[in-house]
Amino acid sequence: MVEAGLKPALRVQNLRKAYKDVVAVDGLDLEVPAGECFGLLGPNGAGKTTTIEICEGLTAADSGEVEVLGLSWRSDGAELRQRLGIQLQETQLSEKLTVHETIRLFRSFFRQGASPAEVIGLVQLEEKRNSRVGALSGGQKQRLALACALVGKPDLLFLDEPTTGLDPQARRQLWELIEEMKKAGTTIVLTTHYMDEAERLCDRVAIMDHGKIIALGTPRELVASIGIEHVVEFAAGSQAHPLEAARLHDIEGVRDIRADNGTVRMQVSELHRAVPALLDELGRQGAPLTELRTHSASLEDVFVALTGRHLRDE
């Protein structure tokens, strides 16, 4: 742990990887300091999984440098395996084994680490200790997969799409577990295509698209960089009193008004001024308000601003 504090936990330089006809990773640079929770955010097919699997030593890069915990896969593979915790996308653990048996198997591979009971407690599966893996819910399976990654007490934890396919409650439960890991000081690199996940969990986020990093920073920095602070969405107007959208431009601090399917989407800088002004304006027009939503700009808006697409278009 000491040397991990001096060197970055993960350093990637000019990484490239192409499959038959697709360039999956196209000249990627990354540096993750120890203790950070770092997120690779991007749509499916952006190259996140290829990138993380190269860092995990599971896929060979075409070119570029990867340094993990100050070590390289070429010369220190066996040592690295002992010090990394890895959760892959879509691994199905053996359904015939129980939770405890599965953890015990994974524990046997590591020189040192936590006891199976400890890890089972950590991921809150005590009640399912003797249940078969096949009988677990999706969220429980995912927590078991996390437990298998934690059992060697890793210095660096790789999580590939840890909450994909889970229901909202199971996702929140997993987020809380990952936040616990963060508090315990574990360095985490995770991939996700959920912007709320990246915003909530990650100290810094790299937004990936087509094998490249198109933006890098803390979630707050990224959101600030596009100059949008809040978004107001509403629907208003009736047959007798249709909405006169042109008048909305007169409201102070409003930019970029888009009407789409009867819903109007406005970017505003100050919510507390723009919303009362909007309501006053609608009152003057006599146009009834049928819907009103506001949200603060998110990483999703960053992705839209940078690529013109939504994260989950694909």
């Binding site: 691994t91 084994l97 890890v119 007490k153």
Partner: protein, 350 residues
């Protein structure tokens, strides 16, 4: 989390854990238990009863006309039915009788039967002898029969080593093939490779679990055969155990080779059938492979299952020791070496 030192005890060794996992997965799959342990016994019992040596079988024949019918009834090995000409022909065509005997107007005997069927030929000889004796023939040389019915020459004695070989092949190839391909499809192999697990332990765990299960598999089938059918075990039991281990390792290597690349269970099971089907037919499990034409014999001889079954039969039925089995042992060792080397070279850990 507190730091825990490496846990003590051999059960926490990764190889022990991996092998335990193999057992657990095997024992928690009732269908597999049936196919490996129960099915060979049912098959042996069924075939052993169907093909048991009956005390001199009685053959059914049809006779037209009353004269011959009474003459032939004196022959105890024939069951005579007196029928009209048309009925008799129908019974013969349908294979319900082995022979049709009729008296021609001139008093001569006319026989109709399938001369490629041994039962037809036997029935003809017995019927003709009865008719000739009834007509007054006296055999010039008197004869005297002595019966030899010893274990070792019966069909069940031939069958058990064949079933044992087939079982060794099936459980090794299916046991390894399906488990590996299924783990690959579930990306479980990839997950294990992402841990510090030494890769050869993964493969070794299959070998170890197979060898332990082998004791049960072979023991149950041979115990059943020896107790119920008195199938002889004339060779050294140590030699027999050695043959079973060599056979299981060799088929395990073949299973590993089949599973080295396949991504889906369907693809693997297709491959397994392509490999195993010819051997089920050619290698003399149920009947002697000598029945196939001479020009394919050299090919049949080098098939791994033929070598296993030939060696098992030589050990169990003739009591042959290893020195006499060197051609089979050579063939098995060669298959083992080639399959294992190829499998290691081709094996995909993803």
């Amino acid at each position: 989390m507190s730091e825990t030192p490496p846990p003590a005890g051999w059960t926490n060794h990764p190889l022990a854990q991996l092998t335990l996992v193999r057992f657990r997965e095997f024992m928690r799959e009732p269908e597999v238990l049936f196919w490996v342990f129960i099915f060979p016994i049912l098959l042996a019992a069924g075939l052993g009863i169907a093909f048991r040596n009956r005390p001199a079988e009685v053959l059914k024949i049809a006779v037209v006309g009353p004269e011959f019918a009474s003459a032939i009834r004196s022959e105890k090995l024939l069951d005579v039915q007196q029928l009209s000409e048309a009925e008799a022909r129908k019974e013969l065509r349908e294979g319900k009788v082995a022979l049709l005997a009729a008296r021609r107007p001139d008093g001569s005997a006319a026989y109709q039967y399938d001369d490629t069927n041994p039962e037809g030929r036997t029935a003809r000889m017995l019927a003709d002898r009865a008719i000739q004796r009834a007509a007054g023939r006296i055999d010039p040389v008197s004869s005297n029969d002595q019966f030899m019915r010893e274990p070792g020459s019966r069909y069940i004695d031939f069958l058990i080593p064949g079933l044992l070989g087939m079982n060794l092949m099936g459980s090794s190839i299916w046991g390894m093939g399906f488990a590996i391909v299924d783990a690959r499809r579930k990306k479980l192999i990839r997950r294990l490779v992402a841990t510090p697990m030494p890769r050869h332990y993964y493969l070794l765990s299959f070998v170890l679990s197979r060898l332990v299960l082998l004791v049960a598999e072979v023991g149950i089938l041979l115990g059943f055969a020896a107790l119920v059918f008195q199938v002889p075990l004339r060779g050294s039991l140590l030699g027999l155990a050695g043959l079973c281990v060599l056979g299981a390792l060799m088929f395990g290597a073949l299973g590993l080779l089949i599973a080295s690349r396949a991504q889906t269970v369907e693809a693997a099971s297709g491959l397994m059938n392509v490999v195993m089907m010819p051997m089920w037919i050619l290698s003399g499990v149920f009947f002697s492979s000598q029945r196939f034409p001479d020009f394919v014999q050299p090919i049949i001889k080098v098939l791994p299952l033929t070598a296993v079954i030939d060696a098992l039969r030589a050990n169990m039925l003739q009591g042959a020791n290893f020195a006499l089995l060197w051609p089979q042992l050579g063939i098995l060792t060669a298959w083992l070496a080639v399959c294992f080397a190829l499998a290691l070279k081709l094996f995909r850990w993803r």
